[in-house]
Symmetry: C5
Subunit: 355 residues, 5 copies
């Protein structure tokens, strides 16, 4: 996946700025547009096929949430850009699914680009997906690469009028969307942490080459996680601190709550990195412990039998005059000497705590 993305980057080289090219995984499926239009009393939800169909909703004083799942339809995004007077460079950012999280303050809108992160349950690969949120006076437009179920709970709260969401404006809706993304971060980092505890056990018991490879992959995932969440902190801090006209003072309190969560998240990511480094030390130690064990066995066996072999070699010599060979108790005596030697070696090994 990541390779494909990168290749596409080079497709853009040499084009004039603002040339809209989709940078991301190639795909064929249809783009899906959903409109939710609501106020305290009224709510309407509709799936539409053409952008133009949502224009009437924009002109009302209701809160309108337009969600676009699939940003590979460049024309569609371009049309929305025209309608909202977005700069072509910003449309480029929305289409480039590799973009860094950012906040752009425009004359009539606020553009927030964030990453949704998923940790694959089997191989713990971190997959990122870009979400661009455009906040106007009564409008929120969300662009996502795939349709994700993360927004379902928000939708049902709107539909069933749970909590205050129907009473509050578009700024509160954006808060709920960002909150669901950051909550997902916390959930996923906790899953990564749970997996570390598994790794710990295996590292001590079976420090194979495969485990090391897993630690390495895991470390890379943590680095990718951090790369995507670190700039998000800055984005949310700006939402909390700066006074944008589209965000009401009463809502800013909610953004400061997200800000706390993302600080906690970054704490957890750093902690996890620290623990991974320690885990590597444990791995290397386990490996060298096993090495020691192997060496000990070799040393014990060699140290016991090489001298014995020498002794029996002595009496295998064919000298004409070897008085011991003729002694009647020669053979048992040699055994006696050998048993004595072996016993003293065992005492030596025990003293050194080798056996």
């Amino acid at each position: 996946l990541s390779k494909k993305k990168r290749r596409n980057h080079s497709h853009k080289r040499g084009l004039p700025p603002g040339s809209l090219v989709y940078v991301g995984k190639e795909r064929q499926d249809d783009v899906k547009i959903t409109v939710i239009d609501y106020n305290k009393e009224h709510i309407e939800e509709r799936d539409i096929s053409k952008v133009q169909q949502c224009y009437p909703y924009l002109r009302t004083s209701n809160v309108t949430w337009i969600n676009i799942s699939g940003i590979h339809d460049v024309n569609l995004v371009e049309k929305i850009g025209e309608e909202f007077g977005l700069h072509p460079l910003l449309l480029e950012d929305i289409l480039n699914s590799d973009h860094r999280p950012k906040l752009s303050h425009l004359d009539q809108h606020l553009l927030v680009i964030l990453k949704r992160l998923y940790v694959h349950p089997d191989d713990f690969q971190v997959r990122d997906e870009q979400i661009s949120i455009l906040l106007g006076e009564n409008t929120v437009i969300t662009f996502q690469e795939n349709e994700a179920d993360d927004f379902d709970s928000i939708r049902s709260q709107i539909k069933e009028s749970i909590g205050d969401i129907r009473k509050l404006g578009a700024d509160f809706l954006m808060y709920r969307i960002i909150d669901s993304i950051v909550d997902r971060y916390l959930l996923e980092i906790e899953r990564l942490n749970d997996h570390i505890e598994q790794l710990e056990e295996e590292v001590v018991l079976h420090p194979t080459q495969q485990i090391l490879h897993r630690i390495y992959i895991f470390k890379k995932q943590i680095i990718r996680f951090r790369k995507n969440t670190w700039p998000a902190r800055e984005v949310i801090h700006k939402l909390e601190k700066n006074e944008y006209e589209f965000i009401q003072p009463s809502t800013r309190f909610y953004y400061s709550d997200i800000h706390e969560h993302i600080i906690q998240l970054n704490d957890m990511v750093e902690t996890t990195r620290g623990i991974m480094t320690s885990l590597l030390d444990v791995y290397f130690s386990s490996v060298s412990h096993r090495m020691n064990e192997i060496m000990k066995v070799l040393t014990i066996v060699s140290t016991v039998f090489i001298p014995l072999t020498f002794i029996v070699g002595v009496y295998g010599m064919n000298f004409a005059f070897m008085p011991e060979l003729e002694w009647h108790w020669g053979y048992p005596m040699v055994w006696g000497v050998m048993i004595l030697l072996t016993s003293s070696m065992f005492i030596f090994f025990r003293k050194r705590k080798w056996i």
Copy 2:
């Protein structure tokens, strides 16, 4: 424990903000509410069972300290929140025993969330427990997960009117509470440090795999300790520097004293981490030292006996014409050669400082 907590985090996903859910270890025991109401002349202490019973105390000009042990009773916390006009997001923070230390400045209150840390005497696991302190004009409300004996000394000072506590206001009471928490940090980090000195000895004498595991666990505990005390520094710095209306200028001097303590604490934590890293180097060196010892024994035994075995093998050959075999002094001469060889090897080993 920590696993259970995390699982609960996911229980909250998808709920509207401000939905009160207790995040922490599940428990059944009753919540205990204690009220202490005092001024210079008068003092009253009462255990109550319903929140409403404490309202009369709040209306007097006396200092009122309400301590709630057990935050798993969501309804109770909600009622207090209503009475004090707390934002639901703040109640959420109080109920989430995983929350990062923070300070919230509200219109009529100051909310401080800190962690109480315990180091288990046997396995040196760091256990954290959340304490939320709500400071109003004449009121301090403390929420703690369990009833801890840390507050007993404060209570007895109030009751027996030791020091100035009875003469001063709620801001001084909060200082005393935070001071008791930070004092506990210092005590616990000292216990961790004492244990490091034990570890040091064992690392040099018996660098087993178990010791490494203990170092690893220990490092993780230090990281957890740091994670909980680092943000506390910021909280206390705000209490010292900012001019909150509930904290009198004369009391701020006390807070700057706590601030110094927590800076010293963080120094100690960093120092401890540095020492742990060095200790690991000592461990690895001890292990490789033992490896060297094993290799030396193997090398000495092999180097001495393998050549001897060769020599005796020579005279074990069955050639028809081997003149030495017939010599009368052949056998003693071979012994002579072998003793010579062994002696020169011992001299060689001694020169290399192997024995």
Copy 3:
């Protein structure tokens, strides 16, 4: 190459400041000067041989782009410096192909010095080439060491009037030039990253000394990459933030887009460095894993055969009285004992997971 450059550095020692000396690879090829002069309706492109030939263009209100490929002709650069009233120290910087990226704000011009980076496709050596861009009111002068094809796409956009470039001023032209340089950075760091994935595989499968050497070379290249792109961030940040009279407010938005790219670039460089470090751990582990494998084979063979050799040695002794030798089943019995011993050893090895 790099050695040659450095030597030349010492050629400058002791000269008064502003003495113009070319610091870089020696070369003989001719310097090539190209002029492009354009406005909305009109365009003219010309290769010229003398600097004086471009002066008429400078006096028009059209945008004039003078590109000089080859900075080793000191006289030429000096003449341009005179014409534009550049300080000799700045001419020195332009001629010193070793200079750090920088931005100089002069009375009538803005001088930007950047590096163009190429990663060699075979040995992944990072080659840097200095580009100096001088921005006047309607003029852009670029100095490059070699003629690079990076500017071809800009030229063809001007000639074929693609995008807005013909409608906008010299500040936009400079943006396009810098953008092409930064895009190249992103492309090259992606190629380096692709190569890391190759390295990863080889490190696990064939951790030879050569691989380590390649990791080392690679790390050095990343360090060089970082050294050249890190200060560029600062340069572009200044272009974005400061209000230079030669850059119109509407163009500054484009510079902030480059700024985002270069921040993303630096993120990628840091991530790459982190991964290289982890890769080294994998390498060391792979090496020690192979060592373990070798030791295991040695230990198994020695541990099995050394005791057996001892046993057969016993019955090779020539004692006159060795009853076993006379037994009819002596020889088969010895074989039986040896097979038993070997089998039990195999069980021991299997239990230890050595085979």
Copy 4:
């Protein structure tokens, strides 16, 4: 020592703030109070036994230096605190010999707490001792744990009127005291550095387990040194920058001189830490070098003699039909083969640079 101190820390837990408890090594010896009262013409030095005896000196316009050696007499310190109107929390800090270096600006005084550091000449243990300096208008009061000879030279300069000390005020006297403490730091870090050069030699020549232990202890001492001198930098920076009424502008120049010294000191400490880390690498390399040496000897001996032993074993076989055994030149031929084999092995070893 350090253990004893820490234990005492817990004695304070639960006491109301400002409860004066001495935290430090227990001791019985008498507290010694010395008063020096001087101006340009006049000087008086006296040992006194009661605090009250020094009060008359405080009321004159002369500079009065009261030195208290031994802070374990809590009552004494309390009396001084009353006389000077010190806050009980500050008295607590003076009595707590574990306190971090700090500067407190009070209404009528300036309190500076610093550490005097001694490196034990034999085991290079860093011993710290707290010095509290209280600066009033014409008064300097110093509290030290033990009587140290560091102040003797200051005293003799006062008595013999060397330099400007008699002409200048209490602020200059405090400068001289702090200067003597910082000079001591420089001296002690130089002694530590000298010892590193000794360690270096031993690490290369005799990398024993004991050396590693010494490196470890040494590193811990450097960390302790740093812990005590780092916050001192901040204290002195405040003295240099802030405009305290008790320090005349002309004296502030002297404080900036100390500030430079302590910055240089911190440079030296960091350099020392960096060198210690490198030294550890040298240690580990020396150990593995010795390991290599041992392995080489083992390999050479085994590789030479194991094949020879096989050859002689062949002709020790008792087959009825072994034609070589009957050859007249069989025995010398075997010797020839063996010498040939050994020689070629030596050539092989030499080529590999093993011998």
Copy 5:
């Protein structure tokens, strides 16, 4: 050398501040004073023996450069201090050849203390030498420990009136002096870097203990280099940014040029440190690679011959009833078995890529 210096430090302890003591290598040679007095038309150069002889030059409006080679003559420095009204603490700094680079802004002068660094061509030891530069209105006084040829080119430019130096003031002269010092830094770090490339080759080919020792020494030199050049950056930054009355605005542009050079220098030093660390990894890997090679030889020889020795041992047994011994083809059959065994082992080794 460095030891001697340090010892002298302790000579100063206990002296009142401003007591002038030379801290540095002891020396006997004469101090040499050179005066150059010049303006556009006129120049005079003179070696003088007494400070007083240079006073007349100071009173003219010409630029006067007094260079003092050798600062061990304390009286001389003291006299100059009196003439220029320098604070005794500053004279102390000039005499202390161990002092950290610094800038002091005085009423009538600017004092700059820098280090001149030399890398010894053979052992790559970094030798530092202190240069103090005192800038007055028309005066530059330089104090250096030894007479260095670095200033010769400046002198000849003045004498032969090359460049603008004769037309500009004392501030430009100081720029030229500092520039020559910083140029020297760049030259020396390049020499260190060239040597690293040599080390690289040797590390891979002959990773001996001596190489490690050289890496260690080298690292220490880089640390010393950094220690001396890092604070110089700050000094030059102040010269560039602050508006000192002795430096004309037109000259400040030259100082910003030096500032760029010293930033580039610090980049190079950091890069060099990073490469040294990687080099150490290569070293350790090369060592363990050789270890692997040794182990492989041992394992191959042992694994081939130990089983063979066992086989021939079997037929060396003296059992009365060993049917194989009597077989006519017994001896060749044993050889056959042994050849078969050896061949299969070689196949095994080849599969594992050991040979």
